[in-house]
Symmetry: C2
Subunit: 265 residues, 2 copies
């Protein structure tokens, strides 16, 4: 068991082409390793006519139970990487593989810009402490006027501004000294290092905007003429407590937002 596990890990060390997401909790289970193993073989185009070996075959090949393989394939199916036909088999989903940064998953903006093929840079516009306005206080379940840290930054893709994002974090969550430059990295790193909080999920709301005279110039588009996409998001930790309010605004002509919508089971 241990030996097999180790052999498994060694195989996985060669995997470099899988796009990285930003999440933290890493404890590679057999299921997760099986998933990566299969995904690697998919991106290497090792399966003839997109046909993936049967679950039993894969289970024997990797020396794990069929259940483990099924769980791995289920995750790949959710990601849109494969699809299954009862009685027929499991197949590579070419269309689904096109979507690199699906909206239902959390991605850093850096990863999103990478996936779109842009070079990228970050500018920190401002970091200030302020009393929480009513809406933010309510979303974060803190007292009105309680102090929050407000960090505003801008992403530049291939030299053009593309995203403005404003993060709101309750000051009482912060446990360690920080400096402005900490915000040049993704916000989940700040939460992990300075607040010992781990982002589990976002509840997000999608809102279209007409570029305002303030926002338009910041994103390099004509105010009053251009439609922008914005996200209002509340981030929760693993205890289901709100720890972050984020507000982001995109140039949709540079970043396409895609997702997979399924029938509810």
């Amino acid at each position: 068991m241990i030996v097999r596990y180790n052999k498994f890990v060694v195989q996985l060390d060669n995997i470099t082409t899988i796009p990285n997401t930003c999440m933290l909790k890493r404890n590679p289970s057999l299921t997760e390793q099986a998933k990566l193993y299969i995904k690697q073989r998919i991106v290497n185009d090792e399966f003839e006519e997109g046909r993936i070996p049967s679950e039993t075959t894969l289970a024997n090949e990797l020396g794990v139970s069929r259940t483990t393989i099924r769980d791995a394939l289920s995750r790949l199916e959710l990601e849109g990487a494969v699809y299954r036909k009862q009685g027929a088999g499991t197949f590579v989903n070419e269309a689904g593989l096109q979507i690199k940064t699906r909206l239902e998953e959390i991605w850093t903006y850096e990863d999103m810009l990478d996936a779109h093929g842009y070079s990228h840079a970050v500018e920190i516009i401002s970091v200030e402490e302020r009393p929480a306005p009513p809406r933010i206080a309510e979303a974060l379940a803190i007292a009105p006027e309680a102090p929050i840290l407000v960090a505003k930054k801008r992403f530049i893709a291939d030299g053009r501004p593309v995203i403005i994002t404003i993060n709101h974090i309750p000051v009482n969550l912060i446990q360690t000294a920080w400096e402005q430059s900490d915000f040049s990295r993704p916000i989940y790193e700040f939460l992990a290092e300075k607040c010992r909080q781990h982002l589990a999920y976002y509840l997000s709301e999608i809102v279209p905007l007409v570029a305002s005279p303030l926002l338009g110039p910041e994103l390099g588009v004509t105010a009053g003429k251009t439609a922008l996409l914005s996200f209002d998001e509340v981030g929760y930790n693993q205890e289901n407590e709100p720890i972050l309010c984020a507000n982001s605004c995109f140039r949709d002509d540079m970043l396409r937002l895609r997702l997979i919508r399924r029938g509810a089971m």
Copy 2:
């Protein structure tokens, strides 16, 4: 086993408050029934302090294996109805329960409007056969200029226009006679009845728009001033073949689009 199964079904007959989604394949598995059973108890607020009984307890209570209960709870967790803390228990997710029509799932517009508390009506604007323009043909994997059926309709919520949607279906999929009024019902019903095709999932792209002089009046908003949200979607059947191109445009001031974003595992 059969008896238990039946008892189970009888219990479920009383469930009426669960919002209905639009999907079709119904073959209530034990897992699905367990999910509905637990969800019903959640909406009835039967759990003190939001604490859900342990997996073992539920398994004994329903006479199924713990695996079945775990699968049911996993689905509820994905839906945002519960969250789990290892070592502590499973709990009702109050914040997640607020979101009725999550974007990652397919909902009929009727259900979305219901969930927002609107009365609703549908107007069929036009139904015509046309040669497929290049983009649509490519998305549907049919020959350019191949005939498609284009159906445009408008949804009215509380007397105000709220959604314009245009569906494109390859004519060669249609197997049965139809009439214009068939389009007053959700498109998945047309696909099921007239094309014997079952919608499995959409690949969707979200695009913000500034209301154009054409679209603005149709949705009752000022052209050139108002931002609208639009969806470009390709629907696939269970064989992973594209069967539908849909184009929808919303008044976001009337309909809020929400979703849950998670860290990739």
